[in-house]
Symmetry: C2
Subunit: 254 residues, 2 copies
Amino acid sequence: MNASSAEDEPGDLPGRASDQPRYVQVADELRAAITAGHFAEGDQLPTESALCERHGVSRFTVREALRRLQAEGLIRRRRGSGTIVDTGGQVLRQPLSDVAELLQYAAGSTFEFRVHGRIALSEAQAAEIGIGAGSRWVHLSGVRTLAPGGAAVAVTDVYINPDLEAFVSALRPGHETLFQQLGAAAGFRVVRVEQDIRAVAAGGREANLLGMARRAPVLRIIRVYKDESDRIVEISISAHPGDRFTYSMHSDQV
Amino acid sequence: MNASSAEDEPGDLPGRASDQPRYVQVADELRAAITAGHFAEGDQLPTESALCERHGVSRFTVREALRRLQAEGLIRRRRGSGTIVDTGGQVLRQPLSDVAELLQYAAGSTFEFRVHGRIALSEAQAAEIGIGAGSRWVHLSGVRTLAPGGAAVAVTDVYINPDLEAFVSALRPGHETLFQQLGAAAGFRVVRVEQDIRAVAAGGREANLLGMARRAPVLRIIRVYKDESDRIVEISISAHPGDRFTYSMHSDQV
DNA sequence: GAGTGGTCTAGACCACGTG
DNA sequence: ACGTGGTCTAGACCACTCC
């Protein structure tokens, strides 16, 4: 069978459209149902065989979808018991077990920024990131808030690959991540994120923007975003206030 | 077939032994080969079909094994190209994409500790962890170093479930994690770890043990370890010096 | 004992990268 | 054109939980 059943489903236009794997579609549907509240915390999800029947797919596909949701921390599964919704009340949580969860984080907050133009990374910055010094990037800086006008949860410097400079002017603040917007416009997908976390003392500018005392402890998060061909498309350096930001993660059994 | 071939493999003693899934065995073998240097950084791993043949398993099993290794950050895979070793030179990296990687971290460092006995969590501690206040735990404290006698990379307070008190005296410092030792002795497995990370100012005791100025920025990592039946078996609260500890993670495409 | 999720097989077609 | 890993099917047996 497979996607070769082209008669009843005109879903394989060569352009774009629903060219996503079936398990992604199933996962999206379940995730939407959970976040929409159709399943309460602790509720039992349909069994695998029920999901197979409902979506007309094999167990492999259903299990792959559920695996995603489990990795995202939305569900827990127990042999013999079933699958239950357990998001751990993840408000303001920012797990990073996969790229998709970064989007979730972004969706719960707003990022406003300014474009500063091309710059060359200083020796120190390059060393901190692990990039060759003197490389050129398009520099943006901004502030992330949970609610418009609310207190900042991060001040961020963003450096974008100059190959993508043409798309920078089309970037818009809001709930979508920069790398999502860039990827959609330029036609790439971020498939790997590397992240370093340290505790440092706030510099003057950071302290000012975050409303903290100078030298107060802040969480410094450096992220490097890479696309399918291992190209670095974006680098972000964020400072999060130590007194109102907690980075939460979970790790399920493997 | 499956593990039901009990004639040629006396491997299903009720106690322990090789009751692990085939894909875990395949993954272990590949991981050992990689860490032993049989594959250099950038080398191509055997193809899936080659691994199927070599281990006499189906593609499902091989792919499950490779999925683990990819989650651990040891390999990268590209459709059309193949599977290559890419550990990112992960010395002193501490990713947490699964529980197994915590062990890796522990293996590269040494933890020395003292047992303080039973205590009740203070209101503040309980709130920070998200546990009911006043619950009783067995308290340990210790220091983690990369090399014996070297500078500390963490000072840690550990709280162990009082149900496991009988096994605490058998805990030994070294390269094995406490929850590993406890699990082996008491017969449970840690299947979920929750972790919160914040930046805070070092307290007097922490600063002293870490050799830092008081109020210098430190990374506070709180971990909650749970077993199969969702019981909290251990809680650890660590302080890592901001100037010599970086928490590195990666997130591969899902 | 019935039903759940976990493991596993033997196939298949496909998108993609490399020759 | 070929081989790679990615997706998917239709089965199977098993360990486990719950009634």
